[in-house]
């Protein structure tokens, strides 16, 4: 037995994304944001997308390219504070934004990846984030039903991958990537390095390849991956 080879060209993998699909995008700020996959999605042109991402990056970076190109109808996120352009789009109604508490967004995505229908949480009770949510009592205390999130595609940035799609992340570039890599029908990972089978220590794999459909090696890192000069 040998494990299947999932190496793939970025453009070919991204070409499967259709209009109106839901797409999860890894990253918290620059670290872990799959810049190359995002550019491939801009080139591909699928529209009316629902994006799920922690933040909207900064103007002119990351998913801001998809906002600029008008491909995004809806954004499920936690915080847009660094992207005034995204806030303008939201305030003028050109995109619909759903805010989640950050850890609850993480849990909803993880639940989707774990085949769980929802988690029950008391986060946000007594605030407007609880508005409209179903309430269930657990041990006599009210909890909100936080339903699982799944996507048609997840776009993931890894430091290292092997041919089977086992992934390893570095430092704070991990963030939402391992969660989203479990929660989509098709998971596309870009990796800074792709290694032969056996070169990733089985104990050090962060995302088992079973969750990953396609891996593509980045031939070069664009300036968008670099330290942001402020």
């Amino acid at each position: 037995m040998r494990l299947p080879d999932k190496r793939c060209d970025i453009a070919v993998a991204v070409a499967r994304i259709k209009d109106s699909d839901t797409v999860m995008v890894g990253g918290f700020g620059v670290p872990g944001t799959p810049m190359a996959l995002i550019h491939a999605l801009v080139d591909h042109g699928a529209r009316d997308l629902t994006l799920i991402k922690n933040d909207a990056n900064e103007p002119g970076m990351g998913i801001d390219h998809l906002l600029k190109s008008g491909q995004v109808a809806r954004l499920i996120t936690t915080h847009l504070g660094l992207n005034s352009h995204a806030i303008d789009l939201m305030n003028s109604g050109r995109i619909q934004v759903e805010f989640n508490a950050q850890g609850i967004l993480a849990e909803r995505i993880r639940a989707g990846g774990a085949g769980i229908g929802a988690v029950l949480s008391d986060i946000g009770i007594g605030t407007e984030l609880a508005d409209g949510k179903q309430v269930v009592e657990v041990d006599g205390k009210p909890h909100l039903v936080e339903s699982a999130l799944r996507a048609d595609f997840a776009l993931i940035h890894a430091d290292r991958a092997d041919h089977f799609g086992n992934l390893a992340y570095v430092a704070t570039a991990r963030n939402f990537n391992p969660l989203m890599a479990m929660a989509a029908t098709r998971v596309i990972a870009e990796a800074e390095t792709i290694l032969p089978l056996g070169a990733l220590d089985a104990d050090a794999v962060h995302t088992p390849g079973v969750f990953v459909d396609h891996v593509a090696e980045l031939v070069a890192l664009s300036g968008e991956y670099a330290v942001v000069q402020r």
Binding site: M1, G115, M182, G198
Partner: protein
């Protein structure tokens, strides 16, 4: 841990009929699949796959990429499968915790599981974890494998030790999962579960249709032309 491991200890010599059944079941595995083989007879299916066959074997105690079983003198004390057998890894294996392991199962990343059975119903119900008053060691991981693998097939003797049919109209024993079984492999036949009930797909060499009818606890349809022999 699968519910039937006490009934099928690992190293008993098998009859020719059982060996043929297992070899036939091995052809159920398509290239590229992620597969969980239940304890007992299903585990032996792997012996019938070509050496270079592209497949990923999953065990619910936290490993994808199961390699060959090892004798005690060559075993790693920390590396077992869900049945407690000492196994090895292959290039590209990954280890993970029990929550991640069942996340794979419940979120649909398992293409196929092969399980044992006490009883199967013509609606595809499976009973394989409990015989009230006699055998109730707990359900282990079997319920999630049966309910959530994309395809569930059963490997079992056609009748129990007392000669009673295991393929029945309805299950008398407590269910593991409802309507989950697609196909049953026995030493006598390959039988599909269809919306219309059992359908004989193949028959074992040297077994007559009358013998299969006699050993089966519910009616089944037969192919319009000749019945393939395995």
């Amino acid at each position: 841990m699968s519910p039937n491991w006490l009934l099928f200890p690992g190293n008993t010599p098998l009859s020719n009929a059982k060996t043929r059944m297992i070899a036939r079941a091995a052809r159920e595995i398509a290239p590229g699949m992620v597969v969980n083989l239940g304890i007992g007879l299903p585990t032996r299916v792997v012996d019938h796959l070509p050496a270079d066959f592209p497949v990923c074997l999953h065990t619910e105690n936290g490993l994808t990429g199961i390699g060959p079983s090892l004798p005690p003198d060559r075993a790693d004390r920390n590396l077992i499968d869900a049945g407690g057998a000492y196994v090895s890894t292959v290039p590209g294996s990954a280890f993970f915790d029990s929550a991640t392991s069942f996340a794979m199962v419940r979120s649909g990343r398992l293409d196929l599981t092969m399980l044992g059975a006490f009883e199967v119903s013509s609606q595809g119900d499976l009973a394989n974890w409990k015989i009230p008053g006699k055998f109730s060691p707990g359900v282990g991981g079997g319920i999630e494998l049966a309910q959530k693998a994309r395809r569930v097939v059963v490997l079992t003797t056609h009748t129990d030790r007392a000669g009673n049919p295991k393929l029945r109209d309805t299950c008398a024993l407590p269910l593991t999962a409802q309507g989950c079984v697609s196909r049953v492999f026995t030493e006598m036949a390959v039988i599909d579960i269809t919306p219309q009930g059992y359908a004989l797909a193949e028959i074992a060499e040297g077994v007559s249709l009358a013998e299969v009818r006699e050993a089966t606890g519910a009616p089944f349809t037969i192919p319009h032309d000749t019945v393939p022999v395995f």
